[in-house]
Structure formats: C-alpha cells, structure tokens
Symmetry: none
C-alpha cells in the first residue's frame, strides 16, 4: 500500500522550521505496513497545493497532508481542498461546539477567526482534534484517500494515533513490515560492508539492508515486508542472529539503544557505578550520560580537567608526568582514570585526553590523537585512537570510543 | 531565482532519519536571494530519482540533491545521474587522490568500494569534499543547474559553504539580500513581540522580521531584499540600532554568536578565566564551552558533581548544608561556585544545581527549579529560575541562564 505525505507551509521552504512531522508519520505508517513513496514540502499557495494533490493522488492510494489549517490569512489549505474536491465550506455544528468548549475552558472570548475554524468542506468526514481547534478532514476521490491534518506536531500526532491510523487499518488490508536495527562501532561503513558482504548477499527476497553512519557508529537496518507475518518474523530473527554471530565484536546495541544507554543499563544491572575524567571531550561524556533520566543512580560525576593545572589540582596528576609524557599520553590518562575512580569511589571510571583540534597537533601527536583509559576493580586499561581533524567529530568519536571500551569490559 | 531540493534515501521515507538537510539548505539559499519552491524526499530507486529530477528541473533553475553517494549498494544516485545526463562513470584522478589521502591519514588500507567513490560522471564539474570521500557533482542541462551532494549533514554543509554557495552567487546575478540577526534571552516569544510591536510595525517595505525561538533564546532575524544594496544596508542598520536601544537588557549577541562564545570573548579580552561546577546541567556547560576551539586559554575545567557525595568530596560542600537546605538551594550552589573558583584559581566561576526532571520534583521544588550562582572577585551572586518539565530543555535553559548571569557581570 503506497502513501504520500504533503507538508504545507512557507516556513518549511525558508528553513525556519524543520519538517519533523513527515518522519514521524512515515514511521507510524511503516509500522502498519504502509510505504511512504514520497514526501513533498510546498508553499501556502493555492495552485501549488492543487497541483501537488493531483500528482500525489495519481501515484498513491493514501495522501496525508499537514499544515495550513490555522486561523490566519496565510492558512489556505481548506479553501484549496474545497476547490480540489469541488465542494464548499459549511459550518460544522460539532466542530463549532468543540471550538467553543476549547475557548471556554481557557476563559477566552471566541472571535470570528476562531468560528471560521468550525467551517469544514461539505464533502468530508471530519476528524476530531482533542487538543486544538482545527479538525482533520478525510476525503475519498478516484480510489484515493486524502487526509488533511494541522501542522502543529502535537495535534497531528494525537489525531494520527487516535483516529487516522485505526481508520487506515480498518479500510485497507495491509502487509506486515518488520524493522530491525543493529548498532555497530569500531569499523567504518565500507570496511563493515566488506566484512558482511556474503551475509548481505544471502538475505532473503523482501528483506533489505541499509547502512546508516554517524560519527563513530554505523547502524545496520534490516527491513522486511510480507503478507506472511510469521515467516517474515522468523527470517528477520534468523538473519539478525547470523549477523550477531558474524560481528559480535562490533555490535553494541539494537534499535533505539545509544552507547550511553547500553553502558548505563549494564552498570545498573550489576549495581556498579561510574565516574569520568575528561580533557578533550570537555564534559561531553558527562553530558551524554546525564541526558538519560535517572542516570544519577549509577553515575557520580566528572572532573573536566581542561588545563594541566586542573589535572594536577583536581586529579593529582604529578607535574613530572605531565612534563615528561605530555597531557595526551598513556601515563597521564591512566593516572586520571585511577584517581577519579578513587576520589568518587565508583566501581569504574573512564578518562580521556586528546587533541580535538583544529590546533595543538604535532608531528608525533597529530590532531585527532586521543588516549582513553578505563579503571576498574584490579584493572587499568588504556588505548590510543587516531581520529580525523574535525573538532566536533573528534569529541563525539572520542566519547563513543571511551564508552565502548568500558562496555566491552562490563 | 527559483530552486528545488531533492533529498534521496529510504531512511527518510521510513521515518528513521528526519530530513534536517533541507531546512538548512533552504535557509542558506534564502540568504543569498534564492527561493526554495519545493522540497521532495524520495527513495533510493532509479526510476523515482529520474522522474523527480525531470519534474524539478522543469520548475526550477537550480536543483540541489543530497543523499545516495555512499560506497554501498543502496547508494545509487551516481548511476541515476549518469542516466539522466546521458554520461558514464570514469575514474577521477583528483578524487582518487583525495580518497587515498583520506584513508592514508587514518592508516587504513583502501578497498575496491572506496576506489569506486572516486568514479564520477564524465560530464560534471566535481566539487571537493574536504571531510569525506564522496565528492559533490555540478551538472548543467537545459538552462538548469543540478548539484548532487552527500547526505551526511556535516559533509553537505561544508560543501555548501565552501563551494556551492559561492559558485551559485557567481553564476546568477541575485538581488541583494541582507540578514541581521539579534540574539535575545530572558523573555518568551509572545512577550518579546508585545514589547517590540511598534518597532515591528514601522519596519520599511521589503524588510521582514522572523522570530526564531530556541530553549532560553529568541533570535530576531531581519531580512531585507532589494536591488538597491546601499539603501537596504542603511535601512537594516538603522532599524537594528533602534531595536538595540529598545531592548538592551535582552540582547546578548548578533548573527553567528552563541552565549558561550560571547562570554568567552569577554573573558579573553579582559584576560580573565572561568571554571564551572555543574549538577543538573551534568557537564553540558563545559561541553558548550569546550566546543569552542581555543577555549582552553580562558576555561580551566568543571567539576560535575552529580551526587551529594561528589559535591562534598570534590567541592567541599558541608554535609550539614546539603541536609539542611537540599542540593538545590541558594546555600549549596553558592558554596559550589566559591569552592570551584578557589580550587581552579580562576577569576570567575559558575555553579548550577537544579531538578531537570522528569523525576525528583516536590511541591516546594517542582521539576524545573534551578539555582545558579556566579562567584568572582569580591562577589557571590545567585538566582533561582523555574523552567518547564522537559529534561532536555531544562538542561539547555539552565546552561544559557547561567552563562548569561556571568555575561551581565563581565
């Protein structure tokens, strides 16, 4: 079953607003077996809307439209829809009652503009909006369903979940779609592809693989679609397991996991705790961890030692060590890890010191050189990495690599 | 001048990735006087790509394309482009040298897949990619320019800024567009709008105002477009100055400034230094600061005390103070600021303690309650804030508010 999404609004075309609606809708549709064929963002112009509706309607059996339903002058979607479906706006009593309730609840007097929101095309099924004043509209024409919704993400989502998705499932008999994402780290996209080439070649028909790279991470996404739900499920599980057996050293999580979440869950399960000492990552590891609600149960804190002075004052790194080996060295990063662990009395600690760039590199230690150490019960382990020359990516990759070193040991 | 954007990738159509590229590109194009007419997201399918290229090329004189240039099998944009422009892939020696340099620098042997990235359509101008292996491609056909770029946001942005935008400016004679952005903090969008209403009403024709809200910040962007560059420049300067006189208490920067950058520049100019002690912001302030290249000249580090134990061990906050007033209190946050300043021997310090949520709130101290303290020469100042109930936004708003408190004092 093929769908298209049309998002309407000048704000999308000048880059003022990122279209997050489409991705959310696409994900929801996919989960019930509806493929999104195309997403089109257009301006608040009548002719542009009409043309796009026609093209999308020719290609797909479901067309989802968001935006342009507000009360102000630039919102013209309703008029365009009337023109497209050769119908006219009439006052909808049910919708009017909704609008009046909405404003009464907020103790605000209703204006003519608000009343207009209760005018709906005569030839549509109207869809309730539990949290706003603009109703959704469901049209059918030439075997295609068109659904218009407000562009406010929160209102659109409510409407999709409570009305549209159930109605679509009822109307169409849909195939099953299953996604499985495997998260890897430690190998770039092309090398990973070479390593799993044979496995990829043997994927069954109807199952596709996508590589989704991020700094330090490559996500592998399997997508399967079939009318035989059970067989598909088995196929996906089977091939996921084969992949896991093939590259166990590279896999750190699945689906919605993140590196920091995986590390946190392992620590929580073992009732162990973590502290960090950060130089080149400058608090980024701490920020990743503390972005997780409840991380305070297993994370005690970080010493961000962004100067040699801070390294010696806060982490007791001896001056001689800094002078002899430099701040970016095995010796220094291991002392950082050992000492932050002792100071914060945690089971484990991570320390990072490196040259994020763009300046500070030397021939022996170019920009991108990063030392990571892990300290734990009876263990200090360190490793050197060489990343690229982009500061932002180096910070990100250092954090992922450091958390991964700990994950392997947990 | 009319442009269209085509973003290619199955991941966009299943909702796994939000298309942030389009909004960024649209904003950049707008700034040089190019209007985006339509944004179309399509799958990695040859026929779909060819059809969409044709339709976009019929409507616009500039077509920007991202995605599908990776080394793996699902990346088919290059082949589709060859078909569309009736050309073939040939090994590009310049591109090959780039790819080899890229992997040599990382001490990685090059694979056949990597080599393939250096194959480019014969009939295109190739665009360097300073940070990745996939070059951009510039085609011209029937009076329309087509530019294909990698979908990785970071690579695309670099390519746009260093090559594509300058080339477009050179090729087309574009009306002068001037943007001026004023950064404000401390007042929400609607209240700010009320305060500057009269000024906004008196903006000259051709000059538009946009409100761009972010957590804790509202950016006001003036955009003027005209064939009379000098007059436009004067108009924008004039009205910017009027705005500055109207809300001097709310303005903290201009254009590409960030709060952390503004604070850093003030400290650098005065040859003063900063340290931080973070609880609820969990290292985020340190991360913001250390994302700035060269921040080590004025920033010494942070103590991320994410537990009461860390507050007492690392920051010498007395247990009685924590017991009596709680970690989120004027008393505790002031001691945190004083002590981190002394330990790290900096001119200034910032300390933050609050309840980021979603849990941990009480009736007296609901989620969103945040205490911030500044310590400096003969000064300790603190202030309480009450933000909302979203963890991510609370962390962000706390960091902005804390840096702003220091900025005011510098």
């Amino acid at each position: 079953m093929k769908a298209e999404i049309i998002t309407i609004g000048d704000e999308l075309l000048i880059g003022q607003v990122i279209d997050t609606n489409s991705a959310w809708m696409a994900e929801q549709l996919n989960q019930i077996g509806i493929n999104v064929h195309q997403i089109t963002s257009i301006s608040d112009q009548s002719q542009h809307i009409l043309k796009t509706l026609k093209e999308a309607g020719n290609r797909a059996r479901i067309v989802l439209i968001t935006g342009g339903l507000g009360p102000t002058r630039d919102d013209i979607t309703k008029d365009a829809l009337c023109q497209y479906f050769a119908t006219r706006l009439v006052l909808n009593q049910e919708a009017l009652a909704d609008v009046m309730r909405f404003f009464e609840k907020r103790n605000i007097a209703i204006t003519e503009l608000n009343r207009k929101q209760a005018e709906l095309p005569e030839d549509c099924k109207s869809i309730p909006n539990p949290i706003g004043t603009a109703r959704g509209m469901w049209f059918e024409k030439d075997n295609t369903v068109y659904i218009s919704m407000p562009g406010v993400p929160f209102e659109m989502k409510q409407m999709m979940l409570t009305s549209i998705l159930p109605l679509l499932k009822e109307k169409f008999s849909l195939a099953t779609v299953i996604h499985k994402t495997i998260l890897t780290t430690g190998l770039g996209e092309s090398f990973l592809a070479a390593r799993i080439e044979e496995w990829e070649d043997n994927l069954p028909a109807g199952v596709k693989l996508a590589y989704l790279p991020q700094p330090g991470i490559v996500r592998l996404r399997l997508t399967g679609k079939s009318c035989h739900a059970d067989k598909l499920k088995n196929d996906i599980t089977d091939h996921t397991n084969k992949l896991k057996a093939l590259i166990p050293d590279l896999i750190f999580g699945e689906d919605q996991d993140t590196m920091e979440k995986v590390v946190g869950e392992k620590l929580k399960a073992k009732e162990e705790s973590l502290s960090t000492a950060e130089s080149c990552t400058g608090g980024y590891i701490a920020h990743l961890i503390t972005s997780i609600p409840g991380s305070s149960t297993w994370y005690n804190g970080s010493i961000v030692s962004y100067s040699n002075n801070a390294k010696s004052t806060l982490l007791d790194v001896p001056h001689e060590l800094l002078d002899k080996h430099g701040a970016v060295s095995k010796e220094v990063v291991e002392v950082m890890a050992k000492n932050v662990r002792e100071k914060l009395k945690t089971t484990w600690s991570i320390a990072v010191s490196g040259i994020a760039g763009p300046d500070g590199g030397t021939i022996e230690k170019p920009v991108g050189t990063v030392w990571v150490a892990i300290a734990g019960p009876n263990l200090v382990y360190s490793e050197q990495f060489l990343f690229g020359d982009n500061r932002e990516r180096n910070i990100r990759r250092s954090a992922i690599a450091a958390l991964n070193l700990l994950r392997i040991r947990l």
